[in-house]
């Protein structure tokens, strides 16, 4: 389906994409620091949401434990940097390796033992929480006291060690998001993508016609977990502290997937749109409810908005926006 979007990309869609890209590239020069910090969060969630989307959208497995891959990536690169002075540019490969191994292990168990749907989701939760509790007891990684990265070099940007200003982190995460989008769109138009689609449309038919299901699903899982691990590296160096009691938690995994689900699972731009809707929605609700001086009222309305999206746009926001803006042939109503 995704490739269909690209193939059928209307001039209007391409123009929109170009405008959005240009605005995002220019953004740091005209937005204030607060907006920039919100944009950074948006892009981070767009990025990890995109990575997560590969797992459900293409391997058909619902993961509620993606915080595991973020955390593994974050801890691996941070530990290498703190303990051995390894630059994150190098550390990122170790981070990818660790995340991919974990992803493949979970994916392998899931596929081999035919654990699907909610059961697979619980398997991912169990792995994430389990690992979190273990890391909570490894004093070399700071245990539950947390792992702190030394914060230095704040005035000049050092891209090799990922030390620098928010603007630098903004461009790094923007680049990552762009690359992830490009990668996904390329994958979908490749032979691999065709197999994924065949599997998604009709798993049994695909298997019957000789598509090696297991291998192609594992590839999707590996790419998804590896990409997510890269997000973790960025996270570690942007926030500079890691605590297992928050990093590995299911609530963290839920934050990762919210954008994608709201935006539209299985679509290329859904995760990006979702992130661009949800984070600003939170900020807007904070601003709107501030005058009421009631703690918690913001989250209530936030929940209400999300519930409304599920009830009224059950395919996610992207297909709806796609039709609304006339970006291509009508799609809503069709099964994703």
């Amino acid at each position: 389906m995704m490739s269909r979007i690209i193939e059928s990309a209307s001039p209007r869609a391409l123009a929109l994409l170009a405008i959005v890209t240009a605005v995002l590239i220019a953004a740091p020069s005209f937005v204030n620091n607060y907006v920039l910090s919100v944009l950074i969060i948006v892009l981070y969630f767009a990025y990890v949401g995109q990575a997560w989307n590969l797992m459900l959208g293409f391997a058909g497995q619902l993961s509620l434990g993606h915080a595991l891959f973020v955390s593994l990536g974050a801890y691996t690169s941070a530990a290498l940097f703190i303990k051995f002075g390894v630059s994150p540019v190098v550390g990122v490969f170790a981070a990818i390796a660790v995340a991919v191994v974990a992803g493949c292990l979970i994916g392998y168990l899931g596929f081999r033992f035919s654990i699907r749907g909610v059961y697979f989701a619980l398997l991912t939760i169990a792995f994430a929480e389990f690992t979190g509790i273990i890391v909570d007891h490894i004093s070399w990684l700071g245990a539950s006291s947390g792992l702190f990265l030394p914060v230095k070099n704040l005035q000049s940007n050092d891209i090799v060690n990922l030390r620098g200003s928010p603007t630098m982190f903004y461009y790094v995460i923007l680049t990552l998001t762009g690359l992830a989008l490009a990668l996904c769109s390329w994958l979908l138009n490749s032979k691999l993508g065709l197999y994924w689609q065949a599997i998604r449309e009709d798993q049994e038919a695909a298997e019957a016609s000789g598509v090696p299901l297991f291998r192609y699903k594992m590839i999707a899982v590996a790419i998804s977990s590896g990409l997510t691990g890269v997000g973790g590296v960025w996270y570690a160096f942007y926030y500079n502290n890691l605590f297992p009691e928050t990093m590995f938690k299911t609530s963290q995994s839920v934050e990762i997937i919210l954008g994608s689900v709201v935006g539209g699972v299985g679509s290329l731009f859904g995760p990006v749109l979702g992130a661009f809707v949800l984070t600003p929605l939170g900020e807007a609700l904070t601003a709107a409810t501030e005058g009421m001086h009631v703690d918690g009222v913001k989250s209530f309305f936030w929940g209400l908005c999300v519930a409304a999206i599920v009830l009224f746009r059950p395919q996610g926001l992207w297909p709806w926006l796609y039709d609304l803006l006339g970006l291509g042939p009508k799609r809503e109503g069709k099964k994703p």
Partner: protein, 302 residues
């Protein structure tokens, strides 16, 4: 690893310690089991995973607290009232909201229930504030001494109440017409429609019964744990573990799973470092998912 924290404490433990801990774990497990029943009933029939499970139980705990504070009703006596209130809540929620997402993919259902959970937490925070609050009953600190065994009175009452509620539930599903009809819906949706059952009403009833279980569990739980708005998520995860281990949709399975987790967490706490005991539960969950995904008492997947 912190060497100290993993050290086995063999020299101190005695048979008496194990016995005390196991009995207490068993009783606590019964209550966990009751709360997990609510999850199991809903999933077994409606095939919806209630990710707002823990938050609904917290709602039940707050309702019990209000009755205790305002009218001085003992949590065990207010149990039927709270269960009834939560039943109404569940019935309406299913009929107005959840029903509309029944045909959607797992992740959309998950998102809806997560949003409901967020709203429930916010409402509790706004109404009751963030502090942990409990109901202090007169027998709250008593324990029975049976030889070397010290059994917490509250846990005994709570465990017995959990058994009674589970028994009633079991009887309802097996000996009443409505109960049988609900089971029929769960076993064969199309069949149930064909024979003219009012599936919509039965589903709402089922969801209501599931949340009523949570209300009952909440009322009992308030005797053991102080309630605060953010208590829910850990109970949601716990209930999942129990239900998977016992078998999704199996009522005795949920009770058995609860007791197993209760005892094994308790013993893991003695043998290993207590801070590692939830790792033990998650490990058990992984094992069961791989070896026997239908759970101990679950039916083989259709």
């Amino acid at each position: 690893m912190q060497g100290r924290s993993l050290a086995f404490s063999g020299s101190h433990v005695s048979a008496q310690l194990y016995l005390n801990v196991a009995v207490s774990g068993l009783l606590t497990g019964l209550i966990y089991g009751l709360s997990a029943l609510g999850l199991s009933v809903i999933f077994g029939v409606i095939r919806i995973v209630n990710f707002a499970h823990g938050e609904m139980m917290v709602l039940g705990m707050f309702a019990t607290l209000v009755l205790f504070r305002a009218l001085g009703i003992d949590p065990l006596l207010s149990l039927p009232l709270v269960a009834a209130a939560l039943f109404a809540f569940g019935y309406v929620l299913q009929d107005l909201v959840v029903r509309r997402v029944a045909h959607l993919a797992d992740h959309m259902q998950f998102l809806l229930m997560a949003a409901v959970a967020v709203m429930l937490i916010s409402v509790c925070l706004m109404m009751f504030g963030p502090d942990a609050q409990g109901a202090q009953v007169s027998y709250g600190f008593d324990s029975f001494a049976i030889g070397p065994l010290l059994v917490d009175k509250v846990r005994v009452y709570a465990g017995v109440a959990a058994l009674i509620v589970s028994g009633l539930l079991f009887a309802f599903f097996h000996y009443t017409l409505t109960g049988k009809a609900i089971r029929a819906c769960g076993d064969n949706y199309t069949g149930a429609r064909v024979v003219g059952l009012n599936v919509r009403r039965l589903y709402a009833l089922t969801f209501g019964i599931g949340t009523a279980c949570l209300g009952a569990a909440g009322a009992i739980m308030l005797l053991l744990v102080d309630v605060h708005p953010y208590l829910g998520p850990s109970y949601t995860l716990l209930a999942f573990i129990i239900v998977i281990i016992g078998g999704m949709g199996s009522l005795p399975g949920a009770l058995l799973g609860g007791m197993l987790i209760g005892i094994s967490e308790a013993l893991a706490g003695v043998i290993l470092q207590p801070s590692l005991k939830s790792a033990f539960s998650f490990g058990l969950l992984i094992l069961v998912l791989l070896v026997r995904p239908q759970g101990l008492l679950g039916k083989v997947a259709r």
